[in-house]
């Protein structure tokens, strides 16, 4: 099978499974909405103050929701030894990783489409900067969190307390991505700075870790 076909087969499987259960999406949406509520109770934001803090809250909520979903993403494959079957299959493991990451990316994008309006309502958000840049920023920052998250979720599958390890490894490594995402979002919301530098940084982060993930995934999948 050609690489494209392999990738499509993996991706189709992921999307179909999620479409049938909708576990990841539902839990992520509910969880991030809860965070939106809890933080708005904690900070009691006004329209002016919420512009400066909402960027941080949105990305922290998304990061937590992503960790919840990713912990389940590979767990599914351990039932009935599906992961071993995937290891034996004459397919490129890197494509399995890529399909998993793309599927998760699509789920989180769907989550963002649902959750962002919730944040806009609760925090009275009205961006003063160039709001269209959010359409570029959201995918860039989401991919940065997802690509490492998918990789380390597969890695923590091979540890004793897998659900605990993912955030412990993912958060320190994601600090630059999170910083970039928060700074760019705040820049767009307040309209004071330009988000361009941060978006370029996120692009670089995405490229570096996508390449590293594709190259090293086989090592993790077949670690002995």
């Amino acid at each position: 099978m050609s690489a494209l076909k392999q990738f499509a087969a993996h991706l189709r499987k992921e999307l179909l499974l999620e479409w049938r259960s909708r576990d990841a999406i539902i839990s992520m949406v509910f969880f991030s909405s809860l965070i939106a509520v809890v933080f708005s109770l904690a900070f009691d934001p006004t329209a002016a103050s919420s512009r400066t803090i909402a960027g941080g809250i949105i990305w922290v909520a998304l990061l937590f929701a992503i960790v919840i979903a990713l912990n389940q993403a590979w767990l599914r494959e351990t039932r009935h030894n599906v992961l071993d079957a995937l290891r034996l299959a004459p397919a490129d493991p890197a494509l399995l990783f890529l399909a998993k990451a793309v599927a998760n990316f699509l789920f989180v994008t769907a989550l963002e489409l649902i959750t962002t309006p919730v944040f806009v309502v609760f925090y009275n958000l009205h961006p003063l900067g160039e709001a269209w840049k959010l359409l570029l920023l959201l995918p860039l920052a989401t991919w940065a969190l997802i690509v490492n998250g998918t990789f380390f979720a597969a890695l923590s599958l091979r540890t004793r307390n897998r659900e605990l390890l993912l955030p412990l490894v993912l958060f320190p490594l994601s600090i630059p991505a999170l910083l970039g995402a928060v700074q760019a979002t705040t820049a767009i919301l307040t309209g004071i700075d330009s988000p361009n530098l941060w978006m370029k940084m996120l692009l670089g982060y995405d490229v570096i870790y996508t390449v590293a993930g594709l190259l090293l995934f086989e090592t993790v999948l077949s670690a002995e």
Binding site: F151, S156, V169, L173, P176, G180, I208, Y209, A212, E224
Partner: protein, 236 residues
Amino acid sequence: MKKLFYPWLAVTVALAIYGFMQAWYIAPTEATMGNIQRIFYYHFAAGNLLCLFFFANFVASIWYLVVRRSNPERAQKLDAFALANAEMGTIFCATVLIQGPLWARPVWGIWWTWDERLTSTLVLFLIYVAYLMVRRFAIAGQTQTLAAVVAIFGFLDVPIVYMSIRWWRTQHPSPVIFGGPNSGLDPRIWTAAFWNLGAWLAWGILLVGVRYYGLRREQAQQQRKAVAQVLMETAR
């Protein structure tokens, strides 16, 4: 290798004593900060050396992944070397993070600030603590490969962390050591800083060596256990 321990220990102690004398009695007292500035001699050493040990961990981890199938014996050595270096780097990193606030409180008036170097050092520390966590939590037999992968991911993050936090903010005093001939630094400060750098480098290499030796013994012990178990099962 084992024979080197005592001579190297002697060199380390001698360097440490000489560095201490340089830093406390020969280097002049700084005009505005007073004696509190002398912590710099240790801060400078630890802050530079941590990069060296993390870099050694990075190289050993890549090398481990390359030879783990073709040359298992060398791979075991590289893994022990990588772990010893990561631990040493983390110790230096923690030292820097403790010394910094001790100096900053009297000089800046605050213990901590989210400045460029402080933040990047803290993030670096967190990344390598995560690496050590992975080593602790991984299932036996897969630890080494997984840890090597995490080490590579972690080290790739270093330049990104550094650049992103640099764009974010900066308050740390800019480097005066390499600030050019007119940075106004007394040459005796320069001498003291480098003697201490040498002393702590020797100390770090000593600890890495001891730790490496201990890890190799642990590996040998585990191998003997595994062999004994196989023999028991075949005898049954």
